[in-house]
C-alpha cells in the first residue's frame, strides 16, 4: 500500500500541515469559549437546584455525554438546517465549520458544566460560612472566596477537556473541514505516502497537547499559591525542629483534605 517509506517526507509534510493548524485551533478556541458559557448556564440550575430547569440540564448532560461526538457532528450537520427551516431560517449556505464549532461547543459545554459543578462543590462549605460571618453578601462570597478556589481546583480538569477537545477536532474532517486531519488525508491520498503524513500529523498533535499540558501545569501552580503557603509554614516549623532539608522532599504539595476520601 502506497510508496516505500521515506523519512524526509515527514519533515516536508510537517511544513505543509502547519498552515491548517490555525483552523484546528480556531475550532478549539471558539468551541472552548462558547462551551464555557454553555457549561456555566447548564451548571447553574444544578448548583442552585432550580426545579424544572434542573431536569432539562440533566437530560442535556446525559445526551451529550452519552453519544459519540462523531454522531453528534452528523446529527447537527444534517438536522439543524431542517429544524431552522421551521422558523424560516435558511442556513443551507452557511459553511460547515460553523456547525462543527457549534457541535464541539455544545459537546464540551456538557463536560464544562460537570467540571464547574464539581469544582464549586469541592470548595469547603466552611469557606462560604466564614465569608458570611465576616459580613460578605452572597455575590461577594462567591466572587471573592468560592470562585478563586474553584478555579484552582478546576484547572487540571479544564486542561484535560481542552486537550480532549483538540484531539476530538480530528473528526471534523468527516464533514469536509480542511483542518489538520482533513489536509493530511488529502496529502496522503495524493502522494500515497500515508505513513509519513500521519506521523507528521501525530507529531503536531503531540507537540501542541504536550505544550498545553505544561502551560496549564504552570497556571495551576500559580493559582494554588494560597495552598503552598501552608507547606512553607510546615517547612519553617520543620526547619525549626532541626530536620534536614532532604526529608522535606516528601511533602510536595498536597491539595488539602483530599487524602481521606475512602
Amino acid at each position: 500500500m502506497g510508496e516505500p517509506f521515506d523519512i524526509s517526507y515527514v519533515f516536508e509534510y510537517l511544513v505543509k500541515l502547519l498552515p491548517t493548524l490555525k483552523i484546528t485551533l480556531l475550532i478549539v478556541v471558539s468551541s472552548i469559549v462558547i462551551g464555557l458559557g454553555v457549561g456555566f448556564i447548564v451548571a447553574l440550575p444544578q448548583l442552585y437546584k432550580i426545579p424544572i430547569l434542573r431536569r432539562f440540564s440533566q437530560v442535556y448532560l446525559s445526551f451529550f455525554r452519552g453519544t459519540p461526538i462523531l454522531i453528534q457532528l452528523f446529527l447537527f450537520y444534517y438536522g439543524l438546517p431542517e429544524i431552522l427551516k421551521l422558523v424560516n431560517l435558511d442556513v443551507a449556505k452557511v459553511p460547515a465549520i460553523y456547525f462543527v464549532i457549534l457541535t464541539y461547543a455544545l459537546h464540551s459545554g456538557a463536560y464544562m458544566a460537570e467540571m464547574i459543578r464539581a469544582a464549586v462543590g469541592a470548595v469547603d462549605r466552611g469557606q462560604v460560612e466564614a465569608a458570611y460571618s465576616v459580613g460578605m453578601n452572597g455575590f461577594q462570597a462567591f466572587t471573592r472566596i468560592v470562585l478563586p478556589q474553584a478555579m484552582a481546583i478546576a484547572i487540571p480538569v479544564f486542561a484535560n477537556l481542552v486537550i480532549a477537545n483538540l484531539k476530538d477536532t480530528s473528526l471534523a474532517f468527516s464533514l469536509g473541514i480542511m483542518e489538520m486531519t482533513g489536509k493530511s488525508q488529502t496529502l496522503a491520498v495524493m502522494s500515497r505516502h500515508f505513513v509519513e503524513t500521519y506521523i507528521s500529523l501525530a507529531i503536531i498533535y503531540f507537540v501542541i497537547s504536550f505544550g498545553l499540558e505544561k502551560l496549564f501545569h504552570l497556571l495551576e501552580r500559580k493559582l494554588l499559591k494560597h495552598e503552598r503557603r501552608i507547606t512553607t509554614d510546615v517547612k519553617e516549623q520543620l526547619v525549626k525542629l532541626g530536620k534536614t532539608k532532604r526529608s522535606l522532599l516528601g511533602f510536595g504539595y498536597s491539595r488539602g483534605g483530599r487524602e481521606n476520601e475512602a
Binding site: 459519540p68 462523531l70 444534517y78 501525530a202
Partner: protein, 236 residues
C-alpha cells in the same frame, strides 16, 4: 420539516445489526487495554529500569495524539512492517489477510492501553499504604497481599474511571468507519443513503449510543455497590 418517525424505527432496527460490531470492538479493546494497562502501570509503579522510560513515553505519546491518528498509523503502517518481517523470514503470510476489523482491534487496544494504565495506576495508588503493611505484618507474601488486599480495593476505587474508559472506547468505536468497518456510524450512512434521510438515521444511531451508555452507567452503579460492600458502616 417532517420527521419521518417510521423511518427512524426502520433505521433503528437496521442499526441494531451493527451493535455487535461496536460492542466487539469495545470489549476487545477494553480487555486488551486492561492487560497492556496493568503491565504498563506495574512497570511504572515499580520503576523497572529500562522499561520504565519506554512505558512512560508510550503513555505520553498515546494520550497526546488523537485516536484517529493511531488508527490511521496502524492501518497504513502495520502492513509495511508485517510484510517486511514475513518477507525477511520467508513466510507466506501477507498483511492482506488481516481483516479490516483486526486493524481496529489492534489500534484501539493500543489506545485503550495507555488510558487504562492511568486508571490502574491511580487505582493502585488510591489504596492506603498501611493496607499492604498490615498484610505483611500478618505474614502474607507480596503476591498474596496483592491478590487478596490491594487488587480488590484498587478495583473498587477505579471502577468509576474504568466505566468512563469503557464508554470512551464505545464512543471511539465509531471511528472504525475510516478503515471500512461497518459499525453503527457507517451503517447509519448506508441506511440513509437509500432515501437521504440522514437526520433520521443519525437520530436512531444517537438513541442507540445513548441507550448503551445508559446501560453501562447502570451496570457500573450496581457493580460499585457490590464492590464497595467492604466499606459499609463506620463513619469515614
Amino acid at each position: 420539516m417532517k420527521l419521518d418517525f417510521a423511518f427512524i424505527w426502520t433505521a433503528f432496527l437496521q442499526l441494531l445489526t451493527a451493535v455487535p460490531t461496536a460492542l466487539a470492538i469495545t470489549v476487545v479493546s477494553v480487555s486488551c487495554g486492561l492487560l497492556i494497562g496493568t503491565t504498563v502501570a506495574i512497570i511504572r509503579l515499580y520503576k523497572i529500569p529500562v522499561l520504565h522510560p519506554i512505558a512512560a513515553s508510550y503513555v505520553t505519546f498515546i494520550r497526546g495524539t488523537p485516536m484517529l491518528t493511531h488508527l490511521l498509523l496502524i492501518y497504513f503502517g502495520l502492513p509495511i512492517i508485517v510484510d517486511g518481517i514475513s518477507e525477511a523470514l520467508g513466510l507466506s503470510f501477507r498483511s492482506v489477510s488481516i481483516p479490516m476489523i483486526g486493524f481496529a482491534y489492534i489500534s484501539f487496544s493500543i489506545t485503550a492501553g495507555a488510558y487504562m494504565s492511568e486508571v490502574v495506576r491511580s487505582g493502585l495508588l488510591a489504596v492506603n499504604r498501611g493496607q499492604i503493611e498490615a498484610a505483611y505484618s500478618i505474614g502474607m507474601t507480596t503476591s498474596q497481599a496483592m491478590r487478596r488486599i490491594i487488587l480488590p480495593q484498587a478495583f473498587s476505587a477505579s471502577l468509576p474511571n474504568l466505566s468512563n474508559s469503557v464508554i470512551g472506547m464505545l464512543h471511539g468505536s465509531t471511528l472504525a468507519f475510516t478503515v471500512s468497518v461497518v459499525d453503527i456510524n457507517a451503517k447509519a450512512q448506508i441506511v440513509a443513503s437509500t432515501n437521504w434521510k440522514f437526520f433520521e438515521a443519525y437520530l436512531a444511531a444517537a438513541l442507540i449510543f445513548w441507550g448503551l451508555t445508559f446501560i453501562i452507567e447502570r451496570l457500573t452503579a450496581l457493580a460499585e455497590k457490590r464492590f464497595n460492600l467492604y466499606n459499609r458502616g463506620g463513619v469515614s
